[in-house]
Symmetry: C2
Subunit: 365 residues, 2 copies
């Protein structure tokens, strides 16, 4: 990196003070909006400031106040609609409190997450929202003990004494799958994305699991409640990749004893699953029912419209910001888990199990 030249010197309070012919402290008082000053001097100072083009130096102010009016946010990837919405939720609430949001993408990489948290601590953000990718939480605890409150978003972390904002993934999944069993489905598969670091057969050791694990647990509970044996469970981990999900479903649906219902735990899996079903010429829901986790703008675009479990993503982000702001303002309430409600949104992709399971043939392709 070429040695960056330092920026030009900006107009400072002493400059304004001199120009206005008042003391430095006086100028500071009117420009900082504190203390008391006579209307007359205020005018002169303001005029001088305008004339010189003065602009507050928030860095210097932070130096003294110890607050940066900034919230750090670590998510896997802002490009992911889920995180984009969550970030928006954080940003909106933050903005109302005069805080800005600094963003970091972890790409589900624990090391990147730790590096980001470290930076945020050094930058003295006022609070931190983290959708954890790393399985441990030492780095987060360190942030907290150095005075920066942390809120976990979307995913809980075992053993972490941190505020956590999540949905009841297990219950939501269980309820969704229960609809399927109620409709007579006995052979129900789960299609789920694992972390990209993963080899596709087992889940990566990481926190992103928590969400997935919970949803899988909910699925199992629903099957159990319907009297379906463990041996009838069908789980496909596909890696966080649409094409991968597609081929997994292609294989699954053209095999023996294929499922009559598919539950996808995230939108990447859903997209790949639908790709496969479309290519197979499967009729939804006549041949196979599909339920996705998380709503999406295209869920109502496709025909049949996709039934989903929707979560209040923006609210999750907003609540995280809220909690942080409260802590910044001195709250010392015990950290706790906040669980927001999901909603099962029945649309057209789910229906009764077919009386006869039609055989699906792989596309020429």
């Amino acid at each position: 990196m070429p040695n960056a030249p330092r920026p030009p010197r900006r107009v400072t309070i002493p400059d304004v003070a001199r120009h206005a012919g008042v003391g430095q402290a006086t100028a500071a008082r009117v420009l900082g909006g504190y203390g008391s000053t006579s209307a007359a001097t205020r005018e002169r100072v303001l005029a001088a400031a305008a004339e010189l083009g003065y602009s507050t130096n928030a860095v210097a102010r932070s130096m003294i106040s110890g607050r940066t009016h900034t919230l750090g946010v670590v998510v896997a990837d802002v490009e992911n609609a889920y995180f984009a919405r969550a970030v928006r939720g954080v940003a909106d609430v933050a903005a109302k409190a005069g805080l800005q949001v600094v963003l970091a993408n972890s790409d589900e990489d624990g090391e990147k997450e730790k590096a980001a948290v470290q930076m945020f601590v050094e930058r003295r953000v006022d609070g931190l929202v983290v959708a954890p990718a790393a399985a441990d939480h030492e780095h987060l605890d360190r942030a907290v003990s150095s005075g920066i409150p942390v809120v976990l978003l979307d995913r809980a972390l075992a053993g972490a004494d941190l505020d956590t904002v999540v949905v009841d993934n297990r219950g939501a999944a269980k309820a969704a799958v229960a609809r399927l069993t109620d409709d007579g489905h006995r052979r129900i598969a789960v299609i789920t994305s694992a972390s990209p670091a993963d080899d596709g057969t087992t889940l990566a050791p990481g926190a992103d699991i928590w969400t997935t694990t919970e949803r899988l647990t909910g699925y199992r509970q629903a099957l159990r409640a319907a009297g379906i044996p463990r041996s009838a469970e069908v789980v496909r981990h596909t890696g966080y990749d649409r094409a991968w999900a597609r081929s997994a479903v292609l294989e699954l649906m053209t095999g023996e004893d294929r499922p009559t219902a598919l539950f996808t735990t995230d939108n990447v899996a859903t997209l790949g699953t639908l790709d496969a079903l479309l290519d197979l010429g499967a009729r939804i829901p006549a041949d196979v029912s599909v339920v996705g986790f998380d709503d999406a703008e295209w869920a109502t675009l496709i025909r049949p419209r996709l039934s989903v479990v929707s979560q209040p993503v923006q609210e999750l982000g907003g609540l995280a910001a809220d909690i942080l702001i409260r802590r910044v303002n001195g709250s010392t309430a015990r950290p706790r888990r906040h669980t927001l409600r999901t909603a099962y949104v029945p649309r057209e992709s789910t229906g009764p199990a077919p009386a006869r399971v039609r055989r699906l043939r792989a596309p020429r392709q």
Copy 2:
């Protein structure tokens, strides 16, 4: 707001120095990674720092260097996939240069944008990426003259002497519509979203227009080139709202002399358009061809797959960050416009104009 308590005092360099039994400057040299120190003292300082849990105060450092290692980004809305991708592009390049990204959403509101820019200037960000919503650029010029380089993203601003990263909207639109005329379409409509502040009939006065205007111009040029008279132009402004776009298309397609091809200038318009077409039972492309601007994950999910004009959104963001970094490092090149290439992606939603225009009936609904 409750008066925020100031944060606890953190471990500082003097603390570490004392603990290590060295002078303050020595400790600073080790911890700041500059100057030279003996291996022995370095060890002691590092040990002391680790023991006390020292962490650099980037705020104090910024105070001196004048750099915050931060880029401000103002977009309409991170929730919008387009901006999410652009932000990601900026963040990736920024991260490689050790910069973080601070985010602000303008919601296409010029005032919000100005407030955000103002904040960024006060915070002394090292550079600013703005997808302008405001039509004027005084606030941006002020940022520049106060030493903060600005890059315009996605939208140019008339008369602004700023680096600008865009695509050739006009050319791309013209090329896409030309495909339609080549396919024999003579009645081609444009469906376009205007700013939400708008009443739906005219475009709001703002910069977001630039993109739209250019695309409309391209559309007109293509028609003209195909010998289609101005009187045959069909333009529907729908407000930035999917349902609105849907009803506009519903009305348009059930009326007299309906179009045989639709060109949508953004994804909200595309979504609403497809909603309408689906509800009308229109066969695509037999009854009507559709071309969208901007690719999307669902463009290949629907059948027929959607033909689109795709733009390198991440690259746009990355280039913006690049330019900024170069300027931070001292470049004084004249600001210029950088135009990235788009690609027309033919898929299945476009085809020859129908020989006989089938009448479409409004759905019972």
